[in-house]
Symmetry: C2
Subunit: 394 residues, 2 copies
């Protein structure tokens, strides 16, 4: 059975791994590739589009359209650029869509894709963090299925197969601890962007690597888990596990922990979403626990990594607080990468913005539409940027 | 819904834990206890029978019948003794039966219980090892369900919930390694019964503790896994995991390992079998991985622990070779406990008997009936006892 497939964020880490798996499972022999979208790496995007015989390739940046068009000349593959073209690409009917654009920009194409009533493989964390209720309601309305592609959420999803979620008493997200796991407060305060982007176990984009070093990534995942599985925030735990071999765990009412394990390779989660509800062979090495010797675990230090504590506040507040949290975080990330603020200032800024916004009553609204989310996102980015300036001035 | 329940081997470790869970789930308010059977601990058996208002209590030993009868005087609970009384008790209709008599003696009551078409919670390893095809065929014939109660097999069973076993490529049994995990060959040769019965993690009966020290226990479990899940012996692995927190693992075709974890407490497996297909709250502590710190794994050493190698031979030979293996092992165990042979002689004797018997063509028969199994069992016990004498004489 041929399937129509699109990949949003095709040239990033998740996107490239998705292309790799499509190739592994027959490429154009098995799939009708509809749309591929990317950012500035238009040469790569064009190569992927040629190989997979895509209908359309879209770059997010209009300044790269010319290069993309040239690279696709004579192929019959349509080239386009900009957010509206991405939205238009998302409106093209598919059976399976990968949502892997990073940041808040990934929300809209995912939402549009849900309207096809197929499968949305969701790697974009911000969709659930900023607009969980909207994503779930849209999926339900159109009969679509959201499959999580984050390694933690895929692990939880897989561990839940055949189980009754109402008996789940623990949802334990593992965290590698990132490159700064054992760093002191003083060292963290002096951490540079170069140090923060170097992740020990996973090969990922820059923002997610920095988020991993600061634990903002895990904070997003806590909120995602709460939104996706609709569970009590109290059952969501985080445990540091430097080897990244236990991808996450589910605890049941009878004391059972079911752990999903494997080598650290994102393709396990992408491949699961691609083949769900079946499992098929994937080009992933078997885990050799004896060769590994030991799996280590430790409690996270919320003093050094305050995003975990902030995530709890966001989960309890609900509504639009996830959108506030994410916009503040993305803005603070930009300021850190531009060396306007220090590493620890990111969490301090987010906390400051969050506590200023969290009591606003419209945050607690449960009817969230895309416009409201994007408007909150814009406002919070402006407020956070102002807070960055004040902090620089002081 | 009240259920009729019997426990075979009620006064052993598994039996007592089963009684504990029946008590935890309402005792006589929830269950109609039909039969309880035990060995020499008739006081305990009588206490259990009184508390659970059993119909009948049976001791395996006629010499203890008088004491049992006295302890039950005035209760209306019937007392009986001997293997035939146990078989008669097994014939009493139940919905759920615990088969926890140790050794080959547990085979017959389990087989009889399957005829009620209910659930057989199977803790007796020998049933599947010596007569796997007979157990499965009987269950199928009468519409009964066998639920494994060994911690490893329950873990595998639970990890398989909702999954397709034809996609399973690894079945990894964890082994604590027992008290002799790091002992040298010379130390093992000199090991005493007192040293062998002291298991670091699990509180069990004597024979199973010695089997755990020698890895005969794991060998039985390998054979059990092959028989119960009807898988290729090649996918069955053993890994040493001293903390006994990962109870076992399943590997799927896509590289996923699904691991069942929890504190080492047999009640997880008994409780699962009691509540299946649901999970209910059990009086078991949550696992605190951070407090534990690390889970260690190492490859087993088949030089020091030859039963693992022997298990592979048995799995490949099939037929009645499991019955030969078990009878030789039980006889060798008796000789070791009587200080007639050394610790390592147990495996050497079993290998000797096995290789003498394994080529007999009737071993490969797949139509196994109880009579044949018991007859092979008897013959092999005699042959092994002779081999013990020869070894002592030499």
């Amino acid at each position: 059975m041929r399937r129509r497939v699109s990949i949003f964020g095709s040239t990033g880490s998740i996107g490239c791994n998705t292309v790799d798996l499509l190739r592994h499972q027959g490429g154009v022999e098995s799939f009708d590739v509809i749309a591929l979208t990317g950012g500035a790496r238009v040469d790569l995007l064009a190569r992927q589009a040629r190989e997979l015989e895509a209908e359309i390739a879209v770059t997010a940046y209009p300044e790269h359209l010319k290069t993309l068009r040239q690279a696709l000349e004579g192929t019959g593959i349509k080239a386009a650029a900009g957010p509206e073209a991405i939205a238009e690409a998302a409106a093209r009917e598919t059976d399976w869509t990968m949502s892997a654009i990073g940041g808040c920009a990934g929300l809209e194409p995912g939402l549009i894709s849900l309207k096809h009533g197929g499968i949305l493989a969701l790697a974009n964390k911000e969709s659930l963090v900023t607009a969980g209720p909207l994503m779930l309601a849209t999926a339900q309305k159109y009969g679509a299925t959201i499959l999580p592609v984050d390694s933690e959420h895929s692990a939880i999803f897989q561990a839940l197969v055949g189980e009754d979620i109402s008996n789940v008493t623990r949802m334990i997200l593992t965290a590698s601890g990132g490159p700064f796991r054992n760093w002191s407060h003083a060292q963290l305060a002096a951490a540079t962007p170069e140090q923060a982007v170097a992740h020990p176990n996973w090969d990922m984009g820059k923002m997610i690597s920095v988020d991993s070093a600061s634990m903002f990534n895990k904070a997003l995942e806590m909120i995602e888990a709460k939104e996706f599985y609709q569970v009590d925030p109290k059952i969501i735990e985080v445990i540091i596990h430097p080897q990244s071999v236990v991808h996450s765990m589910i605890g049941h009412v009878d004391g059972t922990l079911m752990a999903h394990m494997g080598v650290p390779d994102m393709r396990f989660a992408i491949g699961y979403a691609l083949n769900w509800p079946k499992r098929r062979s994937l080009p992933i090495k078997n885990l050799d626990l004896a060769a590994l010797g030991a799996l280590e675990f430790e409690a996270p230090d919320e003093q050094r990594f305050p995003p975990l504590r902030l995530a709890r506040e966001v989960m309890m507040a609900g509504g639009l607080s996830g959108a506030v949290f994410n916009a503040a975080k993305e803005t603070a990330y930009g300021a850190f990468m531009a060396r306007q603020i220090g590493f620890l200032d990111m969490a301090a800024l987010v906390e400051q913005v969050l506590s200023a916004e969290i009591d606003l009553c419209d945050l607690k609204s449960t009817t969230i539409d895309l416009e409201t989310v994007l408007s909150v996102d814009q406002q919070v980015r402006i407020k956070t940027a102002e807070a960055v300036k004040l902090r620089q001035a002081s």
